[in-house]
Protein backbone atom coordinates (compact mmCIF):
# COMPACT_ATOMS: atom_id res chain seq x y z
CA UNK A 1 0.00 0.00 0.00
CA UNK A 2 1.22 3.44 -0.76
CA UNK A 3 -0.24 6.81 -0.26
CA UNK A 4 -0.34 8.18 -3.75
CA UNK A 5 0.93 11.71 -3.70
CA UNK A 6 -1.28 14.33 -5.34
CA UNK A 7 1.32 15.63 -7.77
CA UNK A 8 1.59 12.22 -9.30
CA UNK A 9 0.45 12.74 -12.87
CA UNK A 10 1.04 10.18 -15.57
CA UNK A 11 3.00 11.42 -18.53
CA UNK A 12 2.37 10.10 -22.04
CA UNK A 13 5.61 8.15 -22.14
CA UNK A 14 5.34 6.14 -18.93
CA UNK A 15 3.92 2.69 -18.56
CA UNK A 16 0.16 2.30 -18.54
CA UNK A 17 -1.35 2.26 -15.05
CA UNK A 18 -1.98 -1.19 -13.69
CA UNK A 19 -5.37 -1.87 -12.12
CA UNK A 20 -4.12 -2.33 -8.58
CA UNK A 21 -2.46 0.40 -6.58
CA UNK A 22 1.22 0.28 -7.33
CA UNK A 23 4.09 0.97 -5.01
CA UNK A 24 6.77 3.14 -6.49
CA UNK A 25 10.30 3.22 -5.13
CA UNK A 26 11.53 6.10 -7.22
CA UNK A 27 9.63 9.00 -8.72
CA UNK A 28 11.09 12.00 -10.45
CA UNK A 29 9.17 15.05 -11.49
CA UNK A 30 10.52 17.42 -14.17
CA UNK A 31 14.07 16.62 -13.24
CA UNK A 32 16.64 18.76 -15.03
CA UNK A 33 20.37 18.48 -14.57
CA UNK A 34 23.28 20.51 -15.87
CA UNK A 35 27.00 19.80 -15.83
CA UNK A 36 28.17 23.39 -16.01
CA UNK A 37 26.39 24.70 -19.10
CA UNK A 38 25.64 21.32 -20.57
CA UNK A 39 22.14 20.04 -19.88
CA UNK A 40 22.34 16.28 -19.33
CA UNK A 41 18.76 15.60 -18.20
CA UNK A 42 15.65 17.35 -19.56
CA UNK A 43 12.33 17.27 -17.76
CA UNK A 44 12.73 13.69 -16.71
CA UNK A 45 9.61 12.30 -15.05
CA UNK A 46 9.75 8.61 -14.28
CA UNK A 47 8.12 6.26 -11.84
CA UNK A 48 10.04 3.14 -11.02
CA UNK A 49 8.08 0.33 -9.42
CA UNK A 50 9.07 -1.33 -6.24
CA UNK A 51 10.51 -4.81 -6.21
CA UNK A 52 11.12 -5.21 -9.91
CA UNK A 53 14.15 -4.85 -12.16
CA UNK A 54 14.04 -1.74 -14.32
CA UNK A 55 16.51 -1.28 -17.16
CA UNK A 56 17.81 2.09 -18.34
CA UNK A 57 18.77 1.84 -21.99
CA UNK A 58 19.89 4.28 -24.63
CA UNK A 59 22.96 5.27 -26.62
CA UNK A 60 26.14 6.55 -24.94
CA UNK A 61 25.82 10.02 -23.49
CA UNK A 62 22.04 9.91 -23.25
CA UNK A 63 22.04 10.48 -19.51
CA UNK A 64 21.42 6.97 -18.18
CA UNK A 65 24.28 7.04 -15.71
CA UNK A 66 23.55 10.64 -14.80
CA UNK A 67 19.96 9.74 -13.96
CA UNK A 68 21.13 6.76 -11.93
CA UNK A 69 23.52 8.95 -9.98
CA UNK A 70 20.69 11.31 -9.11
CA UNK A 71 18.92 8.64 -7.12
CA UNK A 72 21.50 8.66 -4.31
CA UNK A 73 22.61 12.25 -4.87
CA UNK A 74 26.14 11.12 -5.63
CA UNK A 75 26.14 13.57 -8.54
CA UNK A 76 26.84 16.28 -6.01
CA UNK A 77 30.31 14.83 -5.47
CA UNK A 78 31.22 15.30 -9.10
CA UNK A 79 31.31 19.08 -8.88
CA UNK A 80 29.58 21.83 -10.86
CA UNK A 81 26.25 20.02 -11.06
CA UNK A 82 22.93 21.89 -10.93
CA UNK A 83 19.60 20.15 -10.62
CA UNK A 84 15.99 21.31 -10.62
CA UNK A 85 12.86 19.27 -10.08
CA UNK A 86 11.92 16.64 -7.55
CA UNK A 87 13.15 13.16 -6.81
CA UNK A 88 11.13 11.07 -4.42
CA UNK A 89 12.64 7.91 -3.07
CA UNK A 90 10.23 5.81 -0.99
CA UNK A 91 7.79 8.74 -1.09
CA UNK A 92 10.29 11.17 0.41
CA UNK A 93 11.72 14.07 -1.54
CA UNK A 94 15.45 13.52 -1.23
CA UNK A 95 16.19 17.23 -1.63
CA UNK A 96 14.23 18.08 1.54
CA UNK A 97 16.41 19.72 4.13
CA UNK A 98 15.73 16.98 6.68
CA UNK A 99 17.21 14.29 4.44
CA UNK A 100 20.61 12.95 5.49
CA UNK A 101 22.57 12.11 2.37
CA UNK A 102 24.40 9.39 4.26
CA UNK A 103 21.17 7.66 5.25
CA UNK A 104 19.92 8.03 1.68
CA UNK A 105 23.02 6.34 0.31
CA UNK A 106 22.70 3.65 2.91
CA UNK A 107 19.32 2.66 1.54
CA UNK A 108 20.15 3.32 -2.12
CA UNK A 109 23.23 1.28 -2.98
CA UNK A 110 25.29 1.51 -6.15
CA UNK A 111 27.19 -1.10 -8.15
CA UNK A 112 29.66 0.03 -10.81
CA UNK A 113 30.82 -0.89 -14.25
CA UNK A 114 34.25 -1.94 -13.06
CA UNK A 115 34.08 -3.95 -9.88
CA UNK A 116 35.59 -1.74 -7.18
CA UNK A 117 36.12 -3.80 -4.05
CA UNK A 118 38.11 -1.87 -1.48
CA UNK A 119 41.76 -2.86 -1.02
CA UNK A 120 41.04 -4.64 2.24
CA UNK A 121 40.02 -8.21 3.03
CA UNK A 122 36.86 -9.83 1.70
CA UNK A 123 35.54 -9.96 5.24
CA UNK A 124 36.20 -6.26 5.86
CA UNK A 125 34.65 -5.32 2.53
CA UNK A 126 31.34 -6.88 3.52
CA UNK A 127 31.40 -5.12 6.87
CA UNK A 128 32.74 -1.81 5.57
CA UNK A 129 29.32 -0.22 5.14
CA UNK A 130 28.34 -1.11 8.69
CA UNK A 131 31.61 0.39 9.89
CA UNK A 132 30.98 3.78 8.38
CA UNK A 133 27.42 3.81 9.70
CA UNK A 134 28.50 2.90 13.23
CA UNK A 135 26.46 -0.28 13.06
CA UNK A 136 29.53 -2.44 13.40
CA UNK A 137 30.87 -1.84 16.88
CA UNK A 138 27.87 -3.16 18.86
CA UNK A 139 28.11 -6.53 17.12
CA UNK A 140 29.88 -9.45 18.72
CA UNK A 141 32.42 -11.40 16.71
CA UNK A 142 30.00 -14.20 15.96
CA UNK A 143 27.29 -11.74 14.92
CA UNK A 144 29.77 -10.13 12.55
CA UNK A 145 30.61 -13.52 11.09
CA UNK A 146 26.91 -14.16 10.63
CA UNK A 147 26.44 -10.88 8.79
CA UNK A 148 29.33 -11.69 6.46
CA UNK A 149 28.12 -15.23 5.85
CA UNK A 150 24.55 -14.16 5.17
CA UNK A 151 25.59 -11.46 2.70
CA UNK A 152 28.01 -13.73 0.88
CA UNK A 153 25.46 -16.54 0.74
CA UNK A 154 22.91 -14.20 -0.75
CA UNK A 155 25.25 -13.45 -3.67
CA UNK A 156 26.30 -17.10 -3.98
CA UNK A 157 29.91 -16.37 -3.05
CA UNK A 158 30.13 -17.99 0.36
CA UNK A 159 31.21 -21.44 -0.77
CA UNK A 160 33.93 -20.00 -2.99
CA UNK A 161 35.53 -17.67 -0.49
CA UNK A 162 34.67 -19.02 2.96
CA UNK A 163 38.20 -20.37 3.44
CA UNK A 164 39.93 -17.12 2.50
CA UNK A 165 37.80 -14.39 3.99
CA UNK A 166 40.93 -12.65 5.23
CA UNK A 167 42.60 -12.44 1.84
CA UNK A 168 42.46 -9.30 -0.20
CA UNK A 169 39.27 -8.67 -2.11
CA UNK A 170 41.31 -7.51 -5.09
CA UNK A 171 42.69 -11.05 -5.53
CA UNK A 172 39.25 -12.35 -6.56
CA UNK A 173 38.21 -12.78 -10.18
CA UNK A 174 36.23 -9.91 -11.70
CA UNK A 175 32.99 -11.84 -11.46
CA UNK A 176 33.60 -12.62 -7.79
CA UNK A 177 34.58 -9.00 -7.18
CA UNK A 178 31.34 -7.77 -8.70
CA UNK A 179 29.36 -10.20 -6.54
CA UNK A 180 31.27 -8.94 -3.53
CA UNK A 181 30.41 -5.37 -4.48
CA UNK A 182 26.75 -6.36 -4.37
CA UNK A 183 27.23 -8.32 -1.16
CA UNK A 184 28.77 -5.38 0.68
CA UNK A 185 25.58 -3.38 0.14
CA UNK A 186 23.35 -5.99 1.73
CA UNK A 187 24.31 -5.63 5.42
CA UNK A 188 23.05 -2.05 5.21
CA UNK A 189 19.60 -3.38 4.30
CA UNK A 190 19.12 -1.21 1.23
CA UNK A 191 15.76 -0.77 -0.46
CA UNK A 192 17.11 0.11 -3.87
CA UNK A 193 20.20 -1.14 -5.68
CA UNK A 194 21.45 0.91 -8.61
CA UNK A 195 23.69 -0.83 -11.12
CA UNK A 196 25.74 0.99 -13.72
CA UNK A 197 26.51 -1.56 -16.44
CA UNK A 198 27.38 -4.18 -13.85
CA UNK A 199 28.32 -6.85 -16.39
CA UNK A 200 30.29 -4.96 -18.99
CA UNK A 201 33.68 -5.88 -17.52
CA UNK A 202 32.83 -9.57 -17.22
CA UNK A 203 33.17 -12.56 -19.53
CA UNK A 204 30.17 -14.53 -20.79
CA UNK A 205 30.13 -16.93 -17.86
CA UNK A 206 30.46 -14.11 -15.36
CA UNK A 207 27.65 -12.20 -17.03
CA UNK A 208 25.35 -15.19 -16.71
CA UNK A 209 26.15 -15.66 -13.04
CA UNK A 210 25.78 -11.99 -12.16
CA UNK A 211 22.52 -11.80 -14.12
CA UNK A 212 21.20 -14.76 -12.17
CA UNK A 213 22.20 -12.99 -9.00
CA UNK A 214 20.41 -9.80 -10.06
CA UNK A 215 17.38 -11.92 -10.87
CA UNK A 216 17.43 -13.31 -7.33
CA UNK A 217 17.44 -9.79 -5.87
CA UNK A 218 14.03 -9.04 -7.39
CA UNK A 219 11.12 -8.67 -4.93
CA UNK A 220 13.35 -8.01 -1.96
CA UNK A 221 15.08 -5.03 -3.58
CA UNK A 222 14.19 -2.55 -6.26
CA UNK A 223 16.88 -2.83 -8.91
CA UNK A 224 17.65 -0.18 -11.50
CA UNK A 225 20.21 -1.30 -14.03
CA UNK A 226 21.92 0.71 -16.77
CA UNK A 227 22.91 -1.44 -19.69
CA UNK A 228 24.25 -1.09 -23.20
CA UNK A 229 23.49 -4.67 -23.98
CA UNK A 230 20.08 -5.04 -25.59
CA UNK A 231 20.06 -8.80 -25.14
CA UNK A 232 20.74 -8.31 -21.45
CA UNK A 233 18.02 -5.69 -21.11
CA UNK A 234 15.63 -8.14 -22.69
CA UNK A 235 16.73 -11.08 -20.56
CA UNK A 236 17.17 -9.47 -17.20
CA UNK A 237 14.67 -6.64 -16.78
CA UNK A 238 10.95 -6.37 -16.13
CA UNK A 239 10.53 -2.84 -17.39
CA UNK A 240 12.68 -0.69 -19.58
CA UNK A 241 13.22 3.05 -19.84
CA UNK A 242 14.61 4.24 -23.16
CA UNK A 243 16.48 7.54 -23.01
CA UNK A 244 17.84 9.74 -25.75
CA UNK A 245 19.77 13.00 -25.35
CA UNK A 246 18.71 13.45 -21.76
CA UNK A 247 15.03 12.76 -22.31
CA UNK A 248 12.83 9.80 -21.52
CA UNK A 249 11.45 8.53 -24.82
CA UNK A 250 9.62 5.46 -23.68
CA UNK A 251 8.96 3.53 -20.49
CA UNK A 252 7.12 0.25 -20.70
CA UNK A 253 7.22 -3.42 -19.85
CA UNK A 254 10.33 -4.94 -21.37
CA UNK A 255 8.34 -7.48 -23.35
CA UNK A 256 6.16 -4.75 -24.80
CA UNK A 257 9.05 -2.47 -25.62
CA UNK A 258 10.98 -5.12 -27.48
CA UNK A 259 7.95 -6.57 -29.30
CA UNK A 260 6.06 -3.44 -29.99
CA UNK A 261 7.97 -0.21 -29.38
CA UNK A 262 5.79 2.86 -29.40
CA UNK A 263 8.39 5.23 -30.77
CA UNK A 264 10.27 5.08 -33.98
CA UNK A 265 13.49 6.05 -32.21
CA UNK A 266 13.09 3.25 -29.68
CA UNK A 267 12.51 0.79 -32.46
CA UNK A 268 15.55 1.93 -34.37
CA UNK A 269 17.73 1.75 -31.26
CA UNK A 270 16.71 -1.69 -30.09
CA UNK A 271 17.12 -3.01 -33.60
CA UNK A 272 20.68 -1.73 -33.46
CA UNK A 273 20.37 0.81 -36.25
CA UNK A 274 22.24 3.37 -34.17
CA UNK A 275 23.77 3.63 -30.76
Amino acid sequence: MSTVAPQYVSTPFTAPEPEFIQDYSIRTNDLNLWYGDFQALMDVSVKIKKGIITGLIGPSGCGKTTLLRCFNRINERYGNVTTTGDIEILDKNIYDSDVSVRQLRRSVGMVFQRPNPLPISIYDNVLFGMGIHDAYKPLSKSERNDVVEEALREVDLWNTVKDRLKSRATTLTLEQQQKLCIARLLPLKPDIILMDEPCSALDAEGIEKVENLIESLRDEYTVVIVTHNMAQARRATDECIFMLLGEIIEHSKTSEMFLNPQHEKTEMYIQGRYG
Binding site: G79, R105, F112, N116, I120, I132
Partner: protein
Protein backbone atom coordinates in the same frame (compact mmCIF):
# COMPACT_ATOMS: atom_id res chain seq x y z
CA UNK B 1 68.88 -18.29 -59.05
CA UNK B 2 65.36 -17.97 -60.41
CA UNK B 3 64.29 -20.97 -58.37
CA UNK B 4 64.72 -18.80 -55.30
CA UNK B 5 61.45 -16.82 -54.80
CA UNK B 6 61.97 -13.10 -54.15
CA UNK B 7 61.69 -12.22 -50.48
CA UNK B 8 58.45 -10.25 -49.98
CA UNK B 9 59.60 -9.00 -46.58
CA UNK B 10 63.08 -7.77 -47.55
CA UNK B 11 64.54 -4.94 -45.48
CA UNK B 12 64.42 -1.53 -47.17
CA UNK B 13 67.25 0.98 -47.21
CA UNK B 14 65.38 3.29 -44.80
CA UNK B 15 64.87 0.48 -42.34
CA UNK B 16 68.57 -0.29 -42.35
CA UNK B 17 69.31 3.33 -41.49
CA UNK B 18 66.54 3.33 -38.91
CA UNK B 19 68.15 0.36 -37.23
CA UNK B 20 71.45 2.20 -37.02
CA UNK B 21 69.75 5.19 -35.35
CA UNK B 22 67.97 2.82 -32.98
CA UNK B 23 71.28 1.33 -31.89
CA UNK B 24 72.93 4.74 -31.51
CA UNK B 25 70.10 6.01 -29.31
CA UNK B 26 70.25 2.88 -27.19
CA UNK B 27 74.00 3.16 -26.66
CA UNK B 28 74.04 6.91 -25.97
CA UNK B 29 71.23 6.75 -23.41
CA UNK B 30 73.07 3.90 -21.70
CA UNK B 31 76.27 5.96 -21.67
CA UNK B 32 74.49 8.96 -20.15
CA UNK B 33 73.09 6.74 -17.42
CA UNK B 34 76.57 5.46 -16.61
CA UNK B 35 77.92 9.02 -16.63
CA UNK B 36 75.38 9.77 -13.91
CA UNK B 37 76.70 7.07 -11.63
CA UNK B 38 80.37 7.99 -12.01
CA UNK B 39 80.31 11.25 -9.98
CA UNK B 40 78.37 9.60 -7.18
CA UNK B 41 80.83 6.75 -6.92
CA UNK B 42 83.81 9.09 -7.34
CA UNK B 43 82.65 11.38 -4.54
CA UNK B 44 81.99 8.55 -2.14
CA UNK B 45 85.24 6.70 -2.86
CA UNK B 46 87.32 9.88 -2.71
CA UNK B 47 85.70 10.99 0.56
CA UNK B 48 86.08 7.65 2.28
CA UNK B 49 89.70 7.34 1.08
CA UNK B 50 90.62 10.79 2.41
CA UNK B 51 88.62 10.38 5.60
CA UNK B 52 89.91 6.92 6.40
CA UNK B 53 92.53 7.95 9.01
CA UNK B 54 89.92 9.81 11.04
CA UNK B 55 86.97 7.44 10.80
CA UNK B 56 86.36 5.56 14.00
CA UNK B 57 83.69 5.13 16.63
CA UNK B 58 85.48 7.71 18.76
CA UNK B 59 85.35 10.22 15.92
CA UNK B 60 81.57 9.91 15.96
CA UNK B 61 81.14 9.88 19.72
CA UNK B 62 83.73 12.40 20.95
CA UNK B 63 83.26 16.13 21.12
CA UNK B 64 85.55 18.45 19.17
CA UNK B 65 88.55 19.43 21.23
CA UNK B 66 91.56 21.71 21.05
CA UNK B 67 89.97 24.15 18.61
CA UNK B 68 88.58 21.26 16.57
CA UNK B 69 92.00 19.81 15.89
CA UNK B 70 91.26 16.75 18.01
CA UNK B 71 88.34 14.74 19.29
CA UNK B 72 85.36 14.00 17.10
CA UNK B 73 82.04 15.34 15.87
CA UNK B 74 79.53 14.23 18.47
CA UNK B 75 78.27 17.75 19.21
CA UNK B 76 77.48 18.63 15.59
CA UNK B 77 76.12 15.15 14.92
CA UNK B 78 73.60 15.23 17.75
CA UNK B 79 72.80 18.86 16.88
CA UNK B 80 71.90 17.89 13.32
CA UNK B 81 69.81 15.01 14.67
CA UNK B 82 67.75 17.33 16.86
CA UNK B 83 67.49 19.94 14.10
CA UNK B 84 66.03 17.33 11.76
CA UNK B 85 63.77 15.87 14.44
CA UNK B 86 62.27 19.18 15.55
CA UNK B 87 61.87 20.49 12.01
CA UNK B 88 60.02 17.32 10.96
CA UNK B 89 57.79 17.44 14.02
CA UNK B 90 56.79 20.91 12.83
CA UNK B 91 56.71 20.34 9.07
CA UNK B 92 55.27 16.83 8.74
CA UNK B 93 51.81 17.43 10.29
CA UNK B 94 51.39 20.79 8.54
CA UNK B 95 52.58 19.46 5.21
CA UNK B 96 50.58 16.24 5.30
CA UNK B 97 47.36 17.94 6.39
CA UNK B 98 47.82 20.64 3.75
CA UNK B 99 48.40 17.95 1.14
CA UNK B 100 45.25 16.13 2.26
CA UNK B 101 43.26 19.34 1.96
CA UNK B 102 44.62 20.22 -1.46
CA UNK B 103 44.03 16.77 -2.91
CA UNK B 104 40.84 15.68 -1.17
CA UNK B 105 38.84 18.72 -0.19
CA UNK B 106 39.87 21.72 -2.26
CA UNK B 107 37.68 22.63 -5.19
CA UNK B 108 39.35 23.75 -8.37
CA UNK B 109 39.05 27.52 -7.99
CA UNK B 110 41.42 30.46 -8.11
CA UNK B 111 42.33 30.14 -4.42
CA UNK B 112 43.40 26.51 -4.81
CA UNK B 113 45.38 27.34 -7.92
CA UNK B 114 47.00 30.21 -6.07
CA UNK B 115 47.97 27.95 -3.16
CA UNK B 116 49.40 25.36 -5.53
CA UNK B 117 51.39 28.06 -7.27
CA UNK B 118 52.67 29.29 -3.91
CA UNK B 119 53.78 25.77 -2.97
CA UNK B 120 55.65 25.35 -6.24
CA UNK B 121 57.35 28.71 -5.80
CA UNK B 122 58.23 28.03 -2.19
CA UNK B 123 60.02 24.90 -3.36
CA UNK B 124 62.13 27.02 -5.69
CA UNK B 125 63.27 29.56 -3.11
CA UNK B 126 67.07 29.37 -2.54
CA UNK B 127 68.04 28.11 0.88
CA UNK B 128 69.95 31.29 1.75
CA UNK B 129 66.72 33.24 1.26
CA UNK B 130 65.02 30.82 3.64
CA UNK B 131 67.82 31.53 6.10
CA UNK B 132 67.33 35.29 5.88
CA UNK B 133 63.55 34.85 6.12
CA UNK B 134 64.02 32.72 9.23
CA UNK B 135 66.26 35.40 10.72
CA UNK B 136 63.63 38.07 10.14
CA UNK B 137 60.52 36.06 10.95
CA UNK B 138 61.50 33.72 13.75
CA UNK B 139 64.61 35.25 15.32
CA UNK B 140 63.58 38.91 15.31
CA UNK B 141 59.84 39.23 14.64
CA UNK B 142 58.73 36.35 16.84
CA UNK B 143 61.58 37.05 19.23
CA UNK B 144 62.86 33.50 19.43
CA UNK B 145 66.49 34.65 19.23
CA UNK B 146 69.00 32.39 17.58
CA UNK B 147 68.20 28.90 18.81
CA UNK B 148 67.37 25.35 17.86
CA UNK B 149 63.65 26.17 17.59
CA UNK B 150 64.18 29.12 15.25
CA UNK B 151 66.51 27.08 13.04
CA UNK B 152 64.08 24.15 13.05
CA UNK B 153 61.20 26.42 12.04
CA UNK B 154 63.29 27.80 9.19
CA UNK B 155 64.22 24.33 7.98
CA UNK B 156 60.56 23.29 8.36
CA UNK B 157 59.44 26.09 6.06
CA UNK B 158 62.06 24.97 3.58
CA UNK B 159 60.95 21.33 3.61
CA UNK B 160 57.20 22.00 3.60
CA UNK B 161 56.64 22.31 -0.16
CA UNK B 162 58.15 18.93 -0.93
CA UNK B 163 56.18 17.27 1.86
CA UNK B 164 52.98 18.88 0.56
CA UNK B 165 53.72 17.91 -3.02
CA UNK B 166 54.65 14.32 -2.25
CA UNK B 167 51.58 13.95 -0.02
CA UNK B 168 49.38 15.23 -2.81
CA UNK B 169 50.94 12.86 -5.30
CA UNK B 170 50.67 9.89 -2.97
CA UNK B 171 46.99 10.62 -2.36
CA UNK B 172 46.31 11.17 -6.04
CA UNK B 173 47.76 7.75 -6.83
CA UNK B 174 44.97 6.07 -4.85
CA UNK B 175 42.38 5.08 -7.50
CA UNK B 176 39.29 7.26 -7.58
CA UNK B 177 37.10 4.16 -7.69
CA UNK B 178 37.87 3.41 -4.04
CA UNK B 179 36.61 6.83 -3.01
CA UNK B 180 33.53 6.49 -5.20
CA UNK B 181 32.78 3.11 -3.62
CA UNK B 182 32.99 4.59 -0.13
CA UNK B 183 30.91 7.67 -0.93
CA UNK B 184 28.19 5.55 -2.44
CA UNK B 185 27.83 3.63 0.78
CA UNK B 186 27.32 6.91 2.60
CA UNK B 187 30.84 7.48 3.89
CA UNK B 188 31.87 11.03 4.62
CA UNK B 189 35.00 12.37 3.01
CA UNK B 190 36.93 12.05 6.23
CA UNK B 191 35.80 8.45 6.77
CA UNK B 192 36.93 7.68 3.23
CA UNK B 193 40.30 9.33 3.78
CA UNK B 194 40.86 7.71 7.15
CA UNK B 195 39.84 4.17 6.27
CA UNK B 196 40.89 3.83 2.64
CA UNK B 197 42.88 6.71 1.18
CA UNK B 198 45.50 7.27 3.89
CA UNK B 199 46.29 3.59 4.55
CA UNK B 200 46.91 3.15 0.83
CA UNK B 201 49.07 6.23 0.38
CA UNK B 202 51.03 6.25 3.61
CA UNK B 203 54.13 4.73 2.01
CA UNK B 204 54.32 7.52 -0.55
CA UNK B 205 53.68 10.18 2.09
CA UNK B 206 56.34 8.84 4.43
CA UNK B 207 58.82 8.51 1.60
CA UNK B 208 58.37 12.20 0.88
CA UNK B 209 58.87 13.05 4.56
CA UNK B 210 61.93 10.84 4.98
CA UNK B 211 63.58 12.26 1.90
CA UNK B 212 63.31 15.67 3.50
CA UNK B 213 65.45 14.40 6.37
CA UNK B 214 68.38 14.33 3.99
CA UNK B 215 67.65 17.88 2.86
CA UNK B 216 67.22 19.20 6.39
CA UNK B 217 70.43 17.54 7.51
CA UNK B 218 72.48 18.84 4.61
CA UNK B 219 71.57 22.50 4.30
CA UNK B 220 73.85 25.10 5.90
CA UNK B 221 72.32 28.37 4.80
CA UNK B 222 68.98 28.20 6.64
CA UNK B 223 70.67 27.59 10.01
CA UNK B 224 73.55 29.97 9.44
CA UNK B 225 71.78 33.00 10.89
CA UNK B 226 69.09 31.28 12.89
CA UNK B 227 70.79 29.18 15.50
CA UNK B 228 73.92 27.28 14.47
CA UNK B 229 77.07 28.13 16.34
CA UNK B 230 80.72 27.40 15.77
CA UNK B 231 81.41 25.71 19.00
CA UNK B 232 79.56 25.11 22.21
CA UNK B 233 80.75 23.19 25.21
CA UNK B 234 78.57 20.20 25.84
CA UNK B 235 78.90 17.26 28.15
CA UNK B 236 81.11 14.41 27.04
CA UNK B 237 79.02 11.60 28.44
CA UNK B 238 75.77 10.70 30.14
CA UNK B 239 72.27 11.99 29.58
CA UNK B 240 73.52 15.52 29.06
CA UNK B 241 75.53 14.37 26.07
CA UNK B 242 72.49 12.68 24.55
CA UNK B 243 70.31 15.80 24.83
CA UNK B 244 72.84 18.62 24.90
CA UNK B 245 70.64 21.36 23.44
CA UNK B 246 67.32 22.76 24.59
CA UNK B 247 64.91 24.34 22.12
CA UNK B 248 66.18 27.78 23.15
CA UNK B 249 69.87 26.90 22.94
CA UNK B 250 72.17 27.56 20.06
CA UNK B 251 73.62 24.38 18.67
CA UNK B 252 76.32 22.86 16.52
CA UNK B 253 75.34 21.14 13.28
CA UNK B 254 77.29 18.92 10.89
CA UNK B 255 76.86 21.06 7.81
CA UNK B 256 77.90 24.23 9.60
CA UNK B 257 80.73 22.44 11.37
CA UNK B 258 82.06 21.25 8.02
CA UNK B 259 81.87 24.76 6.64
CA UNK B 260 83.76 26.14 9.62
CA UNK B 261 86.56 23.60 9.77
CA UNK B 262 87.02 23.69 6.00
CA UNK B 263 87.17 27.43 5.54
CA UNK B 264 87.42 29.34 8.81
CA UNK B 265 89.64 27.34 11.12
CA UNK B 266 93.35 26.64 10.88
CA UNK B 267 95.30 23.49 11.64
CA UNK B 268 92.37 21.12 11.41
CA UNK B 269 93.64 17.75 10.16
CA UNK B 270 92.50 17.10 6.59
CA UNK B 271 91.06 13.75 7.53
CA UNK B 272 88.69 15.52 9.97
CA UNK B 273 87.22 17.63 7.19
CA UNK B 274 86.77 14.65 4.92
CA UNK B 275 85.56 12.58 7.84
CA UNK B 276 82.80 15.07 8.60
CA UNK B 277 81.80 15.16 4.95
CA UNK B 278 81.83 11.36 4.76
CA UNK B 279 79.61 11.10 7.84
CA UNK B 280 77.15 13.55 6.29
CA UNK B 281 77.02 11.69 3.01
CA UNK B 282 76.73 8.44 4.94
CA UNK B 283 73.77 9.83 6.86
CA UNK B 284 72.03 10.88 3.67
CA UNK B 285 72.61 7.50 2.04
CA UNK B 286 71.45 5.70 5.17
CA UNK B 287 68.27 7.76 5.40
CA UNK B 288 67.50 7.28 1.70
CA UNK B 289 68.11 3.55 1.98
CA UNK B 290 65.79 3.32 4.94
CA UNK B 291 63.14 5.21 3.01
CA UNK B 292 63.50 2.94 -0.03
CA UNK B 293 63.41 -0.21 2.09
CA UNK B 294 60.39 1.11 3.92
CA UNK B 295 58.62 1.87 0.66
CA UNK B 296 59.34 -1.60 -0.70
CA UNK B 297 58.01 -3.11 2.51
CA UNK B 298 54.78 -1.09 2.45
CA UNK B 299 54.29 -1.69 -1.27
CA UNK B 300 54.60 -5.41 -0.82
CA UNK B 301 51.63 -5.25 1.49
CA UNK B 302 49.32 -3.40 -0.86
CA UNK B 303 47.89 -4.78 -4.06
CA UNK B 304 45.11 -3.61 -6.22
Amino acid sequence: MSSQPTNPFAETEEERRGKLVENLVGISTLLMTWLLIIPVLAIIIFLVYKAWPALSIEFLLDNPEKKMTAGGIWGPLIGTFFLVLVSLIIAAPIGILAGVYLNEFARDNWLTRFINLAVVNLAGVPSIVHGLFGLGAFVYFLGMDRCLLAASCTVAVMTLPVIITSTKEALASVPMSFRVACWNMGATKWQTIRTIVLPNSISGILTGVILQVARAAGETAPILFTGAMISSRIADSGWEAMVPYGLDDRFMALSYHLYIISTQWQNVPESFKFGTAAVMIGLVIAVNSISIAFRIYLRSRKKW
